[in-house]
Amino acid sequence: MKRYIDFYLSSMKLAVLEQWQYPIANYFYMIGMIAEPVIYMVVWSTVATQQGGMVGGYTPGAFAAYYIVWTLVRNMNVVFTPYGWEWRIRQGQLSMSLMRPIHPLHYDVSYFAGWKIIVIILWIPLAFALSFFFKPDLHPTLIQGAVFFFAIWFAYLIRTMTLSLLGMVTFWTTRVSALFELYFAAELVLSGRLVPLSLMPDWVQRLAWFFPFRWAFGFPIESLVGNMATNDLLLGLGMQLAWIISGAVAVSLIWKVAIRRFSAVGG
């Protein structure tokens, strides 16, 4: 245990040091990302105003709050992509990390967690700027704040698990970008990324409950922005944990099979 803590801290430190060298590039990345919610925000605020100040339970201020928190959650959702898996298998990076006496996934999880620290620091001024322009309507309670804190890190872990599973498909075939695209499209619609799920038809909302997407995206936002009862908040955290645990189990099982295949066909 102590060994893993030591590794995680060292690896996170390395990520922080490395990413801190590129604040501008990181900022470009974040600004590019922020365009998307700003568009949604503007469109839906316009619609809300045209409909007499509210649509689907959201006022323009509530939309602003939703999409500004969205930007943080979106950044927490950035993990090692399936394309990255493809790349590291091809480049032989995977071979090198297999030579270390530690599971390579620990490296991914810790490195990106470290990077998140930089991202959060860089996000704060952006959030202020966005709030200045779009006047969010946001009054979280203490418990909401606490749940949100855990929810974003759980979201990070859920997406790490799902994208690692997706990435491992590249052990079997290299023509997987179609699969990835389908996944990302489903995610866009079912996660609350495109619009708050409450604006979706009922059946979509019900469907979304059974996928990991909304637990990694919509739920953390709603935990801070919406007025969920404490019970629902805790239930949400429970669902997140359930996805993390089952994801981790699935990852480690498939990893074993994948590595067996990898060491049969060459590194």
Binding site: A25, F28, G32, V42, V43, V195, L199, M200
Partner: protein, 261 residues
């Protein structure tokens, strides 16, 4: 003239190359389909709640989406791959090969890559556009067609210049890889007409990142909104951006040659 021949032969090589990877065509079709589907879902969600957005009705917004898809396809086929390659070469210091060729360097670096399969986007965009125009009971009118086509070309040139300016900054800041991401994010704003955005953002999307000219203006031409004044501004801006981008590219190039010597 020799430049055109060069561009043409690269185009040919690019197309032949793409034929090698036919599987990519299917992937491209799927990607286009997914993008279209999510776009339509977004559009329907909005119009489930309202009947017009910033003075544009649903069919008009469908036309905007068509133009958005066409221009996006052109950019991803011809502009972005060239610029990404250039960025990579500046970063790796391998640009020298390109600079030793007996052709105008800017022309040369702008025509080396061509992604044929992105034409799927262009075709799909046209289909969407035609569907939208039928819904609008649009009558063929020479002036609006000319306005549309010229606006489309000017928009594409402006986006190219924008990319070249940003890419040229790679001569000074080594890591600009996130630029592609930045552009994609901002370009997505073009899915909706820029009039719906708050002023500061509208100006940004018009003059900083020429999304307005690449998408909204051509769409305006088709929906009878384009004024001669806007068209002339577009023309002026195209010329200005072209000159600016060429100057910045030149300065960057001098900087590069100085540093690598």
């Amino acid at each position: 003239m020799q430049g055109f021949r060069l561009a043409f032969s690269y185009l040919r090589i690019g197309i032949m190359n793409e034929f090698q990877y036919r599987a990519n065509l299917y992937i491209q079709i799927l990607q286009t389909f997914i993008a279209l589907a999510t776009g339509l879902i977004g559009l329907n969600l909005v119009f489930a709640q309202t009947s017009e957005l910033g003075g544009w009705n649903k069919a008009e917004l469908l036309a905007v989406m068509g133009v958005f898809t066409i221009t996006g396809g052109v950019i991803r086929a011809a502009v972005q791959p060239n610029m990404e390659r250039l960025m990579e070469e500046i970063r790796e210091g391998t640009l020298d090969y390109a600079l030793t060729k007996p052709a105008d360097a800017q022309l040369f670096i702008s025509v080396r890559e061509f992604r044929l399969w992105q034409m799927v986007d262009v075709l799909t965009g046209f289909v969407v556009l035609v569907v939208a125009l039928i819904q609008l009971n649009w009558l063929v009118d020479l002036w609006s067609v000319l306005g549309f086509l010229s606006a489309l070309v000017m928009g594409a040139v402006m986006v190219y210049c924008f990319w070249l300016i940003i890419t040229s900054t790679a001569f000074w800041f080594v890591r600009v890889h996130e630029i592609a991401n930045l552009f994609e994010g901002l370009y997505a704003a073009g899915r909706w007409p820029v009039d719906i955005y708050p002023n500061w953002l509208r100006y940004g999307l018009t003059f900083l990142v020429p999304v307005a000219f690449a998408v909204t203006v051509p769409a305006e031409a088709l929906t009878g909104r384009l004024t001669l004044q806007t068209w002339l501004v577009a023309l002026g801006l195209t010329v200005a951006l072209f000159i600016i981008s060429r100057v910045i590219w030149r300065i960057g190039l001098r900087n590069y040659s100085g540093a690598s010597a």
